[in-house]
C-alpha cells in the first residue's frame, strides 16, 4: 500500500530541488510546495507512476501580506491508494501566472477558469480561459482578491440601469459609481474573450441546425442554469453549458464570517446535502483545531447523514422521474411522500427540514429526542419495503427500460477521466466511496457494501441510488443498535474558534459524490480561505460531452440521472 511518505520520498528523489517544503499531516495527506516551473512535470510523474488519476480540484488563496497567490492542486487516486496530494504553487501578486494542468487532467478546465475569473491568476496553456460563474460586467474586478473593495455593496439594486432593448425586453446594466471608479474597484479594461453566445454561434454549421436554449428557466433541474443544445432535427450535435446564474460567492462570504458563522452558509451550499456539507466543513476545522467529536456525537452525525442521504436520493430519483415521465407520474409523488417521512425523522432532531446547521466543531448541537429510535426504525422498515417496490416497478416497466437502457453511457475510464464521483462513478463499475476510501467518522466500524453497476448508463445510475437507500437503512440500523451514551460535545472546545495558522483538507461522501473542504487559517477568527470542492461541479463539467449525439428527450434523461444541484455548482 502506498503511503504519503512513500510518495514524498519518491518525489524528492525524482525531482531534487523542485520541492520547496513538504510535510505529511495527517498520515494520508501530503502537502508540498512545488517550484512553479516544475508543477506540470511533478503532476505528470505522480499521475503516471503513482496512480494519481483523480484530479479533485484546485484552490486559489490570496496571501496578501506576503504579496503572493497560492494555487493548491488537489490530487488523489481512484482507489489505488488513499493518499491525497496537495501541491502548492506560488506566484507573485502582480502579474500572477501559473502553468495549466488541462493537458494532464481534462477536468482541470473549470477549476482553473474559476480561479482565473475570481482571482485574476492567468493559467498558461489553458485552451479556453472564459468566465464561468461571473457575469461579464464583473470580469476584471477579481472579486475574491482580499483587496477587492467594490463590495459588499448594499444597494446593488439602486445602481441598476434599466434599458429596453430592441426586442422589447428589459436589459440591465450595473454601471460603476464615481466613487468606485476613483477607488479603482471596478474594472475599466475587461479581458478580451468571445461571449458565450458568440462561442456557441460559431458552431452552427448548416441550414438545418439551430440552438435550443434550455434554461435558465426550464423544467430540467431545480435551479437555473443554461444548457444550450445545437440540434439538427431531434439529434443533439453539441451541448454548451453556462452556469453561474445563482452564483452567490459563498466562499468569499465565508471569509468575512467567523468560523462558527460559516456553518449556516455551508447549509446553503447544496440544500439537499446540508448535513454532509456541515460535516465536511466542521471536519476540516476540527482538523485545524486538533479536536475530535466524542463517540456519541459521531454516531448521531452518521445517523443523520445517512437519513439525509435517503431523502436526497428519493428526491433525486423523483425529479428524474418527472423528467422522463411527467409531473403527474404517480411514483414521483409517492417518493415525495416517503421523503416527507424521512424528513420528519430528521426534523425531530434538528428542527429543520432542509437547512439544519446541526453539526458543531467537536460535536453536535443537540441530542436525539426520546422515541427517536422507534420512530426511525418504523420509518426505515417502510422505506425498505417501498424501495423494493420501486425497484420492482422500474425493472418491470418496459417503457422505462426502453428509455433508460444504454442512454448516456459512461465507460469506467471515461468516468474517471471526467472526474465524476458518487453514484454516477459507481454506476460505471468503479467502487469509489469516501466512506470506504477515506473513512471519516466511524464508518470504518460499519458493515456496508459499496454499490456498483457494470453498465454505466442512466438506468444503472438510478439503480445505484435506490440500492444505496437500502444500504443506508442498514447503516442506520447498526448505528441505532450500537450508539453509546455519553457527551455530545468534545471537552474544551473554545467559545471563540481561533485555530492555529495552517491548512486542512477534509473529504466526505456527499449524497452525490466526493465533497471536500479546504480551509486555510491564519490564526485569526476568520478563515483566510474556504474552498468547497463539490461533486456536482464535476458532473456538470462532464455533461456536455455526454450529450453529443443523443436525442433531445435523452438530454433530460441524462441530466436528470446525474441528480444535479445547481446551487452547489454556482456556490
Amino acid at each position: 500500500m502506498t503511503t504519503a511518505n512513500d510518495v514524498l520520498s519518491a518525489l524528492q528523489s525524482a525531482f531534487p530541488g523542485a520541492i520547496e517544503e513538504a510535510k505529511v499531516d495527517p498520515e494520508r495527506q501530503l502537502w508540498a510546495t512545488i517550484k512553479p516551473d516544475r508543477i506540470v512535470d511533478v503532476c505528470k510523474y505522480l499521475r503516471d507512476n503513482h496512480n494519481f488519476d483523480h484530479y479533485s480540484g484546485a484552490a486559489g488563496v490570496d496571501r496578501i501580506d506576503e504579496g503572493l497567490f497560492e494555487v493548491t492542486e488537489l490530487l488523489a487516486s481512484h482507489g489505488a491508494h488513499q493518499v491525497v496530494a496537495l501541491l502548492k504553487v506560488k506566484t507573485p501578486r502582480d502579474n500572477p501566472s501559473v502553468k495549466s494542468l488541462t493537458g494532464l487532467y481534462w477536468n482541470a478546465n473549470w477549476y482553473e477558469r474559476e480561479i482565473w475569473e475570481m482571482l485574476g491568476i492567468n493559467f498558461e496553456g489553458h485552451p479556453e480561459l472564459y468566465p464561468l460563474l461571473l457575469s461579464d460586467e464583473l470580469m476584471g474586478a477579481w472579486p475574491w482578491r482580499k483587496d477587492y473593495k467594490g463590495y459588499p455593496d448594499y444597494n446593488t439594486a439602486e445602481r441598476a440601469i434599466e434599458k429596453v432593448n430592441p426586442e422589447g425586453y428589459t436589459d440591465y446594466s450595473f454601471t460603476p459609481t464615481e466613487a468606485e471608479i476613483k477607488a479603482g474597484t471596478v474594472p475599466f479594461e475587461r479581458p478580451k474573450y468571445p461571449t458565450f453566445r458568440e462561442r456557441e454561434e460559431m458552431e452552427i454549421k448548416g441550414e438545418s441546425e439551430m440552438i435550443l436554449h434550455m434554461g435558465p428557466q426550464h423544467a430540467v433541474v431545480p435551479g437555473p442554469f443554461l444548457l444550450d443544445i445545437l440540434v439538427d432535427g431531434e439529434r443533439v450535435k453539441k451541448a454548451f453549458l453556462d452556469v453561474g446564474y445563482i452564483h452567490k460567492g459563498i466562499e468569499k462570504i465565508m471569509e468575512n464570517r467567523t468560523y462558527t458563522q460559516g456553518i449556516p452558509i455551508t447549509d446553503r451550499l447544496c440544500y439537499m446535502a446540508a448535513l454532509t456539507n456541515n460535516e465536511a466543513y466542521c471536519g476540516a476545522v476540527e482538523r485545524l483545531l486538533g479536536i475530535e467529536a466524542p463517540e456519541r456525537a459521531q454516531y448521531i452525525r452518521m445517523i443523520l447523514e445517512e437519513l439525509s442521504r435517503i431523502q436526497s436520493h428519493f428526491l433525486g430519483t423523483a425529479e428524474f422521474l418527472t423528467l422522463i415521465a411527467s409531473a403527474v407520474y404517480s411514483p414521483f409523488l409517492y417518493m415525495i411522500i416517503d421523503r416527507e417521512d424521512v424528513l420528519s425523522c430528521i426534523e425531530s432532531v434538528t428542527g429543520a427540514r432542509i437547512n439544519h446547521s446541526f453539526v458543531r466543531f467537536g460535536g453536535v448541537r443537540n441530542d436525539l429526542p426520546e422515541g427517536f429510535k422507534d420512530m426511525t426504525l418504523d420509518t426505515l422498515k417502510m422505506i425498505r419495503q417501498k424501495t423494493e417496490e420501486y425497484k420492482e416497478l422500474f425493472s418491470s416497466d418496459s417503457i422505462y427500460q426502453k428509455r433508460m437502457e444504454g442512454v448516456g453511457v459512461l465507460s469506467p475510464s471515461d468516468a474517471r477521466r471526467l472526474g465524476v464521483s458518487g453514484p454516477p462513478l459507481r454506476a460505471s463499475d468503479t467502487p469509489f466511496d469516501m466512506r470506504r476510501e477515506d473513512p471519516y467518522l466511524l464508518y470504518k466500524d460499519m458493515d456496508f457494501e459499496v454499490i456498483t453497476r457494470k453498465e454505466g448508463d442512466s438506468k444503472a445510475r438510478v439503480e445505484v441510488r435506490l440500492d444505496e437507500i437500502l444500504e443506508s437503512c442498514y447503516i442506520i440500523e447498526q448505528c441505532l443498535d450500537q450508539i453509546p451514551s455519553g457527551p455530545i460535545m468534545a471537552e474544551g472546545v473554545p467559545k471563540r474558534i481561533k485555530p492555529e495558522p495552517g491548512e486542512a483538507y477534509y473529504r466526505v461522501e456527499d449524497h452525490r459524490g466526493e465533497m471536500g473542504f479546504f480551509v486555510v487559517s491564519d490564526g485569526s477568527e476568520k478563515p483566510v480561505k474556504v474552498k468547497a470542492r463539490g461533486p456536482v461541479y464535476a458532473y456538470f463539467q462532464a455533461l456536455p460531452p455526454l450529450l453529443e449525439g443523443v436525442y433531445i428527450a435523452d438530454v433530460v434523461a441524462i441530466a436528470g440521472s446525474m441528480d444535479a444541484c445547481t446551487s452547489e455548482v454556482d456556490r
Partner: protein
C-alpha cells in the same frame, strides 16, 4: 297550436326549417359538449388526485371542488391575449379555432347514446351518415393540422419541435387506426356508427382483441396523452405547440384536448364496447341505453386517466417505431382476421 304552426311552416319552407333546426341542434350540442368537457377536466383532476394520494380541487364550489373549472375558465378567458412578435398572425389566431371546430365536426356525426321510445331504440345523433365511422376518423386527424398550425406560427423553437413531432406521430398512427376502423366495418357490414353499434351482439372487443388494443393505443396517441405526449412534453420542450399561447386561445386549446378525449372515448365505446347495448333495465327502460353507455364511457375515461398517471413517456423515435414496425403489421393481421370471420359468419 304552436306545434301545428311549426309543422305548417316546415311543410311550406322545408329548407329554412331544416336550417333553423340544424342551428339549434348545433348550439345545444356545442354547449353540452363544452360543459361535459369541463366536467371531464374536473373529473381528471379529482381522479388523478385519488391515484396520487392527494385530494385534487376541493375548495371552490363545495367540498368536491366542482366549480374549479368555472374559475379556470373565467380566468383564462379574461387574461391578456399575447400574440408574440414574429408570429404568423392569421395562422396563430386561427389555429385554436380550427382545433375546436374540428371537434365539433366530429361531434356532429357521433351518437351520444340512445333512448327507447315505444319499444323503439332512437339513437341520439345529429347527422346520421352512412359513412360516419370513416368521417369521424378523418375529422379526428385534422386536429394534428391545427396543432401544426399552432406550433409553426408561434415563431418559437419549442413550439416548432412540438409541431414536427405531432405530424410525425400522426402519420405513423392514423394508418393502423384507419385499418382498425375498416376491420370493424367489415365485421359489422356497415360504416355507419349507429349500425356498427347495433351489429354488436358480441362486443367487438371480444371478436377483435388485437384491433381493440391497436385502436386504443392509436387513440391515446391521437389525444396526445401519456405515454404519448411528446408534442407537449413539459420537461423537454416546455409546453410544445402551445408554448406561446395565452389567455383565451390557450383556453380553447386546453379545453379542446378534453373535448377530443371525450369524443375519442365515445368512439372507442361505440366501435368495440357495444355502444349503448345492454339488457333493458325494467322501470327506467326509457333511458336504460343511456345508463349503459355512460357507465362504459366513464370506465374508459378513468382508464385513460389511469394510464396517464402510471406510465413514463416514450421517446419520439420509439413512438414512430412502434407505430410503423409493430402496430401496422398487427393491424393488417387484424384486418385479415376480420375478413375471414366476417365472411364466415355472413
Amino acid at each position: 297550436m304552436v306545434l301545428s304552426a311549426i309543422t305548417e311552416f316546415a311543410a311550406q319552407e322545408p329548407k329554412i326549417y331544416g336550417l333553423i333546426i340544424g342551428l339549434v341542434a348545433a348550439a345545444i350540442l356545442a354547449s353540452v359538449i363544452n360543459v361535459v368537457a369541463m366536467l371531464l377536466v374536473w373529473l381528471e383532476r379529482k381522479v388523478m388526485g385519488d391515484f396520487q394520494a392527494r385530494y385534487g380541487p376541493n375548495r371552490v364550489g363545495g367540498r368536491w371542488g366542482v366549480l374549479q373549472l368555472g374559475a379556470d375558465a373565467v380566468k383564462l378567458f379574461t387574461k391578456e391575449d399575447v400574440i408574440p412578435r414574429g408570429a404568423d398572425k392569421p395562422v396563430f389566431v386561427w389555429a385554436p379555432i380550427v382545433a375546436v371546430a374540428t371537434t365539433m365536426l366530429v361531434a356532429g356525426a357521433l351518437p351520444f347514446g340512445a333512448v327507447i321510445i315505444d319499444g323503439k331504440e332512437i339513437p341520439l345523433v345529429v347527422a346520421n351518415m352512412d359513412i360516419s365511422a370513416f368521417y369521424i376518423e378523418a375529422a379526428l386527424s385534422i386536429m394534428a393540422i391545427s396543432a401544426f398550425m399552432a406550433g409553426w406560427s408561434s415563431n418559437n423553437k419549442y413550439s416548432m419541435l412540438g409541431a414536427f413531432r405531432g405530424i410525425a406521430r400522426m402519420i405513423a398512427y392514423e394508418v393502423p387506426m384507419g385499418i382498425c376502423v375498416i376491420s370493424v366495418a367489415i365485421m359489422a357490414h356497415s360504416l355507419n356508427v349507429v349500425e356498427i353499434v347495433q351489429a354488436q351482439s358480441i362486443w367487438f372487443v371480444i371478436a377483435q382483441p388485437i384491433g381493440f388494443v391497436i385502436f386504443a393505443i392509436a387513440l391515446i396517441t391521437d389525444l396526445g396523452r401519456m405515454p404519448f405526449d411528446q408534442t407537449e412534453a413539459e420537461e423537454e420542450i416546455i409546453a410544445g405547440y402551445n408554448t406561446e399561447y395565452s389567455g383565451i386561445r390557450f383556453g380553447l386549446l386546453y379545453f379542446q384536448e378534453y373535448i377530443v378525449m371525450l369524443l375519442g372515448s365515445i368512439l372507442l365505446v361505440h366501435l368495440y364496447l357495444g355502444g349503448w347495448n345492454g339488457p333493458v333495465i325494467p322501470v327506467i327502460s326509457f333511458i336504460s341505453p343511456m345508463i349503459w353507455f355512460f357507465m362504459k364511457l366513464i370506465i374508459v375515461l378513468v382508464a385513460l386517466i389511469w394510464v396517464r398517471v402510471s406510465l413514463p413517456r416514450f421517446r419520439i423515435d420509439q413512438v414512430t417505431d412502434l407505430g410503423w414496425k409493430i402496430l401496422l403489421p398487427l393491424s393488417m393481421v387484424n384486418l385479415a382476421w376480420a375478413v375471414v370471420v366476417g365472411l364466415y359468419f355472413a
